[in-house]
């Protein structure tokens, strides 16, 4: 009975195990695979393996690497051996349990499997996603291309002899030991001394002669894998990596809260200011989309902050759907209909809307101001300014912050944690710093540590849009942190006023309208000036009303200078009056004018007297002329510049519609959150379907193969393009009963065969378009190509995968390959030429 294959193992998994697999590796379930065989094939595809590996933490990767080194390519390794191989110098008592737990995880992810239930090996294809020198070990010595049938003189020593040779190291020239020590834990490549007189030349020669190292090329020596392992005492790693310790520094809870609240209030104020500014004069969008540098600078001045912060604020407003491109030509950015609701909400809810829009947004505001590959400056609101990984990274950063309560984390601290959690996908430290800065500006952190507000946001499931409940919870949490509102305004003789705390909404509105802010923070200092008081009068208050309102908020009487200032401003306010009229009538004779203004027939014109000899009319000039002519006066029309146009300063709101606008809101709209139970239920249904469509024993050609074509593997589209021929070959292979035409499954079978060193029948279309059928031993499936050894012709061939029509198992009449070959895979990235003559 031949050894069980990976597909067999997958088929043998229980339903629960399969559900867990699909749950942890969602890419396998979407789109739904047709059979368990195609599921197994998909699980071994390079893209899927990369994806799975990128979610592993450093400890899992170490164990996986260890299994790959010790249990790759047709060999297996026991769990006990792995515990030893990853033991630290002084193993802690929990080490074995840790390793076993990690192994269980890896098995549930189908990265490690067990052909016989006890011994372990890596899934096919895992070898290929390892580093060039996994675990810092050199390639295994005997490669299939050059079977070590007749060891040459000075050739590599056998694994069994290594111990002896190492024992003889005492006799080695000085320096040999240190060379070995340097190469021992990798990288296993060293430079050959350039001159014969170099102090390391002699020991190097000795090591090469005794087969402890060999030449990789003319300049480099390489420590072979078995020697490295022997030197390490059979270990692959010096223990499992531990998660980094968070910094010991701690912030006080009140400090964190206060800082976070301060930032949260600030960012809400900034966004509010932007909306108020843009509703008066909407800035034009650049031709390529985005906000011009000049406008950004102007806005930064208005907000009294730097341009980076301003860019973030503008982007944040867009994320929350508060501003959008109005779609006109030329386009400009205006507040949306949502902005009106937002402006009416209280600080906490306004903030919650911003924070919950930030988390799932794929926008990348930190790139504003940098230059792209072509050297073009990136502008705020640039439609191209999004990164699909941004939502995930934001979630991860919040998660890391949460894992270290009250500790101020720098970008480097976060990086260290991420390096442990997902060593395969570590973001640049600058990006982390940018995201931390965003969290700081939003008030999710305070003094560098996660604030309670950020904690609520960190609860939102990864890469999902927070639902209404979460938004409300966010607002409530901030509301609880906000200091109590103060309703007192201390008015002073130098025309300043101080609100000794957070102003209540009515007080805030009053001072915003009637005074200029001098200093913000825990308290608010404002200054009254003629201009600011005039502003309040413009808004419809009278001087007396304003004084009464100020007095109502002031615990002391309004100081005389301020009272004088308000009265003085009120006196001057309205000295010059401006109104709107469509036309005017000038008459030299006041008596005639009086007749016109009192004539009931002319009332429809809406005329009234502004001076003894001047009337203005609401009706346009044409109507007035006609009406006056009808009445019998002979009016003359004055020059064309008598017309005053009433201009509403507010521009119409735009609706968020169309793709362009949506992209600003969520450039890559993440999926809505699905509760885990629902998801698992769905997966269980899928597994049941898979079981039904997969015969217990062997795979059949899958008529639904086209449906699976969405997997991110190479050659799929090409295969589809050769449809007719594929179909015909499929029939042909189908006659044999063991082949497959489904490209993903075919590739899976090739990978399995490569991992096991087995031979298969390969149906392929040759260079001249002629179908061929060859018996090959696959070596490697990589980058859209298959490398294989044609057993009959004793030659190596490389086939583009889209030329592969079908793959078929060879009937298990005997051992598929010579035993000494079966356990080998080609080195992942062979740096050496095996034909190179040994060093003389």
């Amino acid at each position: 009975m031949r050894m069980a294959t990976f597909s067999d193992w997958v088929r043998a998994r229980s339903d629960e195990q399969l559900v867990a697999l699909l749950d942890h590796r969602p890419d396998l379930a979407s789109p739904s695979p047709a059979t368990l065989l195609s599921l197994a094939a998909r699980a071994t595809s390079r893209a899927s393996l990369h994806r799975a590996a990128s979610t592993l933490d450093a400890a899992h990767l170490v164990v996986l690497e260890s299994v790959a080194v010790l249990g790759g390519a047709g060999t297996t390794v026991t769990a006990d051996r792995l515990v030893e191989a990853t033991a630290p110098d002084d193993p802690a008592p929990g080490h074995a349990a840790d390793v076993l737990a990690v192994l269980a995880d890896l098995e549930s992810l189908a990265l490690v499997w067990s052909p016989d239930g006890t011994a372990l090996r890596v899934a096919p294809g895992v070898d290929e996603i390892q580093d060039a020198y996994p675990a810092g070990l050199g390639p295994p010595d005997r490669s299939p291309e050059r079977p070590a049938t007749a060891p040459q003189e000075d050739g590599p020593v056998d694994a069994d002899d290594v111990e002896d040779v190492l024992g003889a190291l005492d006799d080695a020239p000085p320096g040999a030991r240190s060379i070995l020590a340097a190469l021992m834990w990798g990288p296993p490549v060293g430079r050959v001394p350039s001159t014969a007189g170099s102090p390391t030349a002699v020991p190097t020669r000795w090591l090469v002669r005794h087969g402890l190292v060999r030449h990789a090329d003319a300049q480099h020596i390489l420590l072979p894998r078995h020697v490295g392992l022997a030197l390490r005492g059979g270990r692959t790693h010096r223990g499992l990596p531990r998660p980094p310790e968070p910094p010991a520094e701690q912030r006080a809870r009140p400090t964190v809260d206060a800082e976070a609240v301060r930032s949260a209030q600030e960012v809400v104020r900034f966004v509010t200011e932007v909306l108020l500014d843009w509703q008066e004069v909407p800035p034009h969008a650049l031709k390529a989309g985005g906000l011009g540098v000049r406008e950004l600078r102007r806005l930064a001045q208005r907000l009294e902050t730097d341009q980076t912060t301003t860019a973030f604020v503008v982007e944040l407003a867009a994320m929350a759907g508060l501003v959008a491109d109005d779609g006109d030509d030329p386009a400009s950015y205006s507040p949306t209909l949502d902005a009106d609701d937002w402006l009416e909400a209280d600080v906490a809810q306004r903030w919650a809307a911003l924070a919950s829009a930030w988390l799932p947004s794929a926008r990348a505001p930190w790139l504003v101001g940098s230059r792209d590959d072509k050297g073009v400056l990136r502008n705020a609101l640039d439609p191209e300014l999004h990164r699909s990984w941004a939502p995930r990274l934001r979630g991860e950063v919040l998660g890391v912050l949460r894992s270290a309560p009250l500790a101020p984390l720098s970008a480097h601290d976060v990086l260290a944690v991420l390096r442990w959690r997902t060593p395969r996908s570590v973001p640049p430290v600058e990006t982390l710093a940018a995201i931390l800065h965003e969290a700081h500006l939003l008030g999710l952190t305070g003094a560098g540590a996660l604030a309670p507000t950020g904690d609520v946001l960190a609860d939102v499931p990864a890469q999902t849009v927070p639902d209404a409940g979460a938004v409300t919870a966010l607002g409530e949490r901030l509301d609880a942190l906000l200091p109590e509102a103060v309703d007192d305004l201390l008015l002073q003789g130098d025309l300043t006023g101080v609100v000794p705390g957070r102003p209540s909404p009515t007080l805030e509105a009053l001072v915003a309208e009637s005074a200029d802010v001098e200093s913000r923070g825990a308290a608010l200092t404002v200054r009254f000036s003629p201009a600011s008081v005039t502003r309040a009068l413009d808004a419809g208050r009278t001087g007396e009303e304003l004084l009464a309102e100020l007095a109502a908020h002031s615990p002391t009487p309004v100081p005389q200078p301020l009272e004088y200032l308000v009265r003085d401003a009120a006196r001057r306010h309205g000295q010059v009056r401006v109104g709107a009229a469509a036309s005017y009538v000038r008459v030299e004779d006041p008596a005639l004018l009086a007749g016109i203004v009192d004539d009931p027939r002319l009332h429809a014109l809406g005329m009234f007297r502004v001076a003894p000899t001047v009337l203005v009319a609401a009706a346009p000039i044409g109507q007035v002329l006609a009406a006056l002519r009808e009445r019998g006066v002979a009016p003359a029309m004055e020059g064309p510049d008598g017309q005053i146009v009433h201009a509403d300063r507010r521009t119409p709101r735009v609706r968020v519609t169309g793709r362009r606008a949506r992209r600003l809101v969520h450039a890559a709209r993440p999926v809505a959150a699905v509760p885990p139970e629902v998801r698992r239920e769905r997966l269980a249904g899928l597994v049941a379907d898979l079981r039904r469509s997969t015969p217990p024993d062997r795979p059949v050609p899958d008529p639904g193969a086209e449906d699976v074509g969405g997997t991110p593997d190479q050659g799929t589209a090409a295969d589809r393009s050769t449809g007719p021929r594929a179909g015909r070959s499929g029939d042909h292979v189908g006659a044999h009963g063991a082949g497959t035409t489904e490209p993903v499954v075919a590739l899976g079978m090739l990978r399995e065969a490569a991992a096991d060193g087995r031979e298969v029948w390969l149906e392929m279309v040759g260079a001249h378009g002629v179908p061929q059928r060859r018996r090959v031993r696959p070596l490697r499936v990589d980058a859209g190509r298959l490398r294989a050894v044609d057993v009959a012709r004793e030659s190596e061939l490389t086939v583009a995968v889209h030329r592969i029509v079908a793959v078929e198992h060879i009937a298990p009449e005997g051992p598929a390959a010579p035993p000494e070959v079966s356990g080998s895979v080609p080195p992942a990235d062979p740096p050496h030429d095996p034909k190179e003559p040994p060093h003389a």
Binding site: L490, D494, T496, V498, P500, R520, A522, P561
Partner: protein, 560 residues
């Protein structure tokens, strides 16, 4: 403390609630490191500046104390970034020290090698530093001591000057125990003056900030007595020089022969020499001709009067005087040219500071009633003003003829009280002088004539004087209790401080001083006045605005 009197803003301003029970304790606690920016009735505003924090460091306060004070008195959580910034800023002072090395003379020592490396690499220190003695020490050319301190401050690493001072030529000076002008009654320094002298002497060199009328001259005399060496006193003008001389004769054991005047008129160099800034900064053929005065004697002490007016050339000369003790006297560290940092690096850190209101509360300066009288221009003048060229507008508004009548009214109201009318424009002043029958002092008046008029004013022989801006600085008119300002130089706050100072000297009978400003409504005059008043209000002086038409009844209530 959740209910503290202090609110710490993130923009580094501190708001102090005056009515709070702990306000006084908090005020005393923050005074060493925060600059009082304004002191209106309810909330005083202080500001944290690097100079202020370094002043505190120089006075021996460390960052921990400052942070603790903020935390102790703050009502709300203190912004974290601000605390970090305070600690960071304060730690910068003193990492570099100027010291005397037994072998190499003047050296710059570092307690932080990286800082030394940074400043040595800077292009600005090129030529100021000599050879490196060891890793932490580098030789400084003795002539560049002041210049180096200026540069280091600009680089943000102010050096602590521990290099000491030359002893100077000994000359015994004592404070006289009695006051000859008051019939030999005994007197002694007021407590705050004594504190100021102690603070200065302890610190070596530095600036003492006292309000006008608080007796800065006496602090100078006290410092001279403590020093007991020959002294060079630099003052703003000749009148001021005479007053220093009179005050020194009165307060110390110095005799007439021991005090020399070095001015445009006389060039005496005596153990105590009083020189004017003007004569020192006189240039002939591009050279300062009177520089030798600085080396004429081995001065043990250099006193700078009115530091905030110190002209730029004096700064450059001072850079060469770093080995001598330096005392700066001023009413305000605010310089309209923003060169506070040069005062810090060249004269020294602030050594003593007392808010006006405190000293007023102690009865050493007079309380003041500040009133702005607004004059509505007649129709014709308004038209004239509206159509005038912008550069003429202020003059037109300031010299409005209607002001004469108001001044007349005010003078009549305070008939018999010593009254000063202060203005900017000479023809206006001449006219006013005629109008109210008072002598006019301008830049053209001879020193002798000025002295005569001042003396007559002091003795009560005349009660009204019209003065131009020459009277702004350092004239001492002890009994002026009413000041009427008709025009000023474009709203200078400093000028306002000086003018207010004219009436702030304590009155024998403890009367309230009156300070009037007459302005034309709806003109630039009013805008400038607003700027000046802001200063008054910030200093804690309530002021009222009344319309000229209401003058009669409005002042009725306040004249006693």
């Amino acid at each position: 403390m959740p209910d503290g009197p202090l609110i710490v803003q993130s923009d580094k301003s501190l708001l102090l609630e005056v009515g709070h029970p702990q306000a006084d304790a908090a005020r005393r606690a923050i005074a060493p490191f925060a600059e009082l920016e304004r002191a209106p009735e309810h909330m005083h505003t202080y500001r944290l500046t690097p100079l202020g924090l370094w002043n505190a460091r120089a006075a021996g306060h460390d960052a921990e104390q400052v942070v603790n004070v903020l935390l102790d008195y703050s009502r709300y959580t203190v912004p974290h970034a601000l605390l970090v910034d305070v600690a960071e800023t304060m730690s910068r002072y003193g990492r570099l020290q100027l010291a005397q090395h037994p072998v190499h003379g003047l050296v710059l020592q570092a307690t932080d090698r990286a800082v030394l490396a940074e400043v040595m690499k800077s292009r600005r220190t090129a030529g100021l530093l000599g050879d490196r003695v060891d890793d932490d020490t580098v030789v400084v050319h003795p002539s560049e001591r002041g210049h180096l301190k200026q540069v280091l401050l600009k680089l943000g690493w102010p050096a602590e000057d521990l290099a000491g001072y030359v002893d100077g030529e000994k000359h015994a000076i004592d404070l006289s125990p009695t006051d000859p002008s008051k019939g030999g009654t005994p007197w002694e320094m007021r407590p705050y003056q004594q504190h100021a002298v102690d603070g200065f002497w302890h610190g070596g060199s530095g600036v003492v900030v006292l309000p006008c009328g608080a007796g800065k001259t006496i602090v100078g005399a006290g410092a001279m007595a403590r020093s007991g060496t020959t002294t060079l006193i630099l003052v703003t003008n000749t009148v001021s020089a005479r007053q220093w001389r009179d005050e020194l004769l009165r307060r110390t054991t110095l005799t007439d022969d021991e005090i020399g005047e070095y001015s445009g008129a006389r060039k005496d160099v005596r153990p105590v020499t009083i020189a004017t800034y003007q004569v020192l900064t006189t240039k002939r053929k591009g050279v300062y001709t009177h520089l030798e005065l600085l080396d004429a004697r081995d001065w043990g002490l250099v006193v700078y009067d009115e530091v905030h007016l110190l002209p730029a050339p004096i700064f450059r000369m001072t850079a060469d005087l770093q080995a001598r003790r330096r005392l700066g006297l001023t009413a305000t560290l605010v310089r309209e040219d923003g060169r506070e940092d040069e005062v810090f690096s060249l004269i020294g850190p602030k050594r003593y500071d007392a808010p006006w209101k405190d000293i007023e509360a102690q009865g050493y300066i007079a309380p003041a009633d500040c009133v702005e009288v607004r004059l509505t221009l007649p129709e014709r003048d308004r038209m004239l003003y509206a159509t005038a060229e912008p550069e003429d507008k202020y003059r037109l508004a300031a010299c409005a003829p209607g002001k004469n009548r108001i001044v007349e009214q005010l003078v009549a109201r305070h008939e018999g009280d010593p009254t000063l009318v202060i203005g900017q424009y000479l023809d206006q002043l001449e006219e006013l002088g005629e109008h109210i029958g008072a002598p006019v002092i301008t830049g053209a008046t001879t020193v002798k004539e000025r002295q005569r008029l001042f003396d007559a004013f002091r003795t009560g022989e005349i009660t009204k004087l019209v003065v131009s801006k020459v009277a702004n600085f350092s004239i001492d008119l002890p009994e002026a209790s009413v000041a009427i300002q008709v025009s000023g130089s474009f709203g200078s706050r400093q000028e306002e401080a000086q003018r207010l100072g004219r009436v702030m000297r304590p009155k024998a009978d403890g009367r309230t001083a009156h300070f009037y400003a007459v302005v034309s409504r709806d003109t630039v005059d009013q805008d400038f006045a607003a700027h000046r008043q802001r200063f008054l209000a910030e200093q804690g002086y309530a002021y009222r605005i009344i319309d000229a038409e209401d003058l009669d009844q409005a002042t009725e209530d306040h004249v006693d």
